[in-house]
């Protein structure tokens, strides 16, 4: 079995030759079958070289059907923003966190006058304030000052419609109007100041 291993190296063989035989026909047939499948696969999956088409979408027309609807208040977006921005202090279920933020679920401020509620994220809130019968004395930064009108409207609408809250939506136009009224104010609002603003 290991014969060649121990034989002296002096033996040399002539260089190998190749017979010229036929390539079996079935190999070509296999090739054609695979090519046919390949063309079908490419037609289905490739998006035909369009740079915009990524799987699982199959064409630009297909992509159009998956575009989210525009216009109106996007509550899904509102929820996403709430969970990314507000929930850190107010808790994802709106229950608030002691020493961090008062609850929003069932809060009279969240379900009450939009004019008062909008001012809080636009300029911040500081000092003692009564929420659901408890006094809270913390400071909230102006979390909504940098948000777009649509985003802030969506987030506040989400708050006003979640966890049992049943209040009206806030529209981007309302945000715009209140934002104009608040102006460049850098001083956060206080509880009594908010109460002095008319409800409507």
């Amino acid at each position: 079995m290991n014969a060649n291993l121990n034989q002296p190296v002096m033996v040399d063989v002539a260089e190998p030759k190749a017979v010229s035989g036929q390539v079996p026909v079935w190999l070509f047939l296999l090739g054609f079958v695979l090519l046919f499948w390949g063309m079908y696969y490419f037609d289905q999956r490739s998006g035909w070289f369009k740079t915009e088409v990524y799987s699982p979408y199959i064409s630009v027309a297909d992509l159009q059907r998956f575009q989210p609807p525009t216009g109106g208040v996007d509550l899904g977006r509102g929820r996403a923003i709430y969970e990314n921005v507000c929930a850190l202090c107010h808790n994802p279920d709106g229950a608030g966190k002691p020493n961090q933020a008062p609850p929003l679920a069932g809060s009279e401020w969240a379900t009450g006058s939009p004019a008062r509620m909008l001012r809080i994220p636009l300029a911040g809130l500081t000092g003692p304030i009564d929420v659901k019968g408890q006094q809270w004395n913390l400071a909230m930064p102006a979390m909504g000052a940098q948000m777009s009108d649509e985003d802030l409207a969506a987030t506040l609408s989400y708050i006003r419609l979640s966890w049992g809250n049943k209040a009206s939506e806030i529209t981007p136009e309302m945000v715009k109007a209140i934002r104009a009224q608040v102006g460049n104010r850098s001083q956060p609002f206080t509880g009594p100041e908010l109460l002095s603003i008319p409800e409507k």
């Binding site: 740079t51 990524y54 699982p56 208040v73 996007d74 509550l75 977006r77 996403a80 649509e150 419609l161």
Partner: protein, 305 residues
């Protein structure tokens, strides 16, 4: 006839064809991409801040891509119908709800209505979702559908939608990674935005993730004498890992840059080519029927090979 040159040319073209197809063509379309707009009109992507760009070089130099990938996949997209407002006619809405989801009993439908806003149904085709929204809009009720990408990576919480070429436009080098010995990092800045968590994780991975097989990177940190008060950069470590009294562990500039880069990694912006409604990735909360169980099966791609 001398076939030599002919054969040489044929072999040359056979090999060169791939250069044309896989090198030149992508360079002409993908390599010329510019910033695009998100569905909200914002410019995308925005270049990373300076420290994050340095962090990318630290990421490259330490071979992080040998274990971590940065590409979220997606197996399909579905439409979640969200009932936002109950309107005035609760009975009619409950009926409409049962029409949209025939498997729902009257009791379950009422229970759903009490949890508004809530996702009520999931469809794979746009027409079905449109029809459901129309059906549910009775008596002033407000319904809309959300576009939700689905897939194993998304269910795992690694991302919200698939990655596309625009996500990497300003990254050089673009290190997509090819193995997942560690979790995917494409969206880690959203998942874990806490810089200190990342610093502690790099210093001692097991302290943040029990059972982690990631090696520690002590050379990204240095031990130095603490001042009268520990500096703001000092890591808050448990007693067995912390330095002895009077000393503190602080990150080197490379460590800080790497963490800045990690925290800047996000790919959840809604784009035309990778649409998403930015609803959270949580599956639909439907009464008793767990329609979300079939999330990954609900694809709209043509039948697999």
């Amino acid at each position: 006839m001398n076939y030599g040159p002919l054969i040489f040319l044929a072999a040359f073209f056979a090999l060169a064809s791939s250069w044309f197809g896989v090198v030149l063509t992508p360079q002409l379309n993908v390599g010329q991409l510019q910033q695009t707009n998100t569905l909200n009109g914002a410019l995308y992507p925005v270049a990373r801040p300076g420290t994050a760009q340095q962090g990318l070089q630290v990421y490259r130099a330490n071979g992080c891509a040998q274990c971590h990938s940065q590409q979220i996949g997606q197996s399909g997209t579905v439409f979640d119908v969200l009932l936002a407002n109950a309107g005035t006619n609760r009975a009619a809405l409950s009926e409409a709800l049962q029409k949209v989801k025939p498997t729902l009993s009257a009791a379950d439908a009422d229970q759903l209505l009490s949890r508004i806003p809530v996702e009520v149904a999931r469809f794979t085709r746009r027409e079905e979702a449109d029809a459901a929204v129309k059906t549910l809009s009775v008596g002033g009720a407000k319904a809309q559908f959300l576009v939700c990408p689905v897939g194993p990576d998304i269910t795992r919480g690694w991302g919200k939608r698939r990655n596309v070429a625009e996500d990497y436009l300003f990254d050089s080098p673009t290190l997509l990674g090819s193995v997942r010995i560690g979790p995917d990092l494409a969206n880690v800045g959203v998942r874990q935005p806490d810089i200190n968590w990342h610093l502690r994780h790099l210093y001692a991975p097991k302290s943040e993730v029990k059972g982690s097989t990631m090696p520690s990177y002590p050379y990204l940190f240095e031990k130095r004498k603490a001042g009268r008060q520990p500096s703001s950069e000092a890591l808050a470590l448990t007693s067995e890992l912390a330095a002895e009294k009077g000393w503190e562990i602080v990150p080197t500039p490379e460590g800080k840059a790497l963490v800045a880069y990690l925290v800047s990694l996000r790919s959840d912006a809604p784009l035309f080519i990778s649409p998403i409604s930015l609803a959270s990735a949580a599956p639909a909360e439907v009464g008793t029927n767990a329609s979300a169980a079939n999330a990954s099966a609900a694809t709209n791609a043509p039948a697999s090979k």
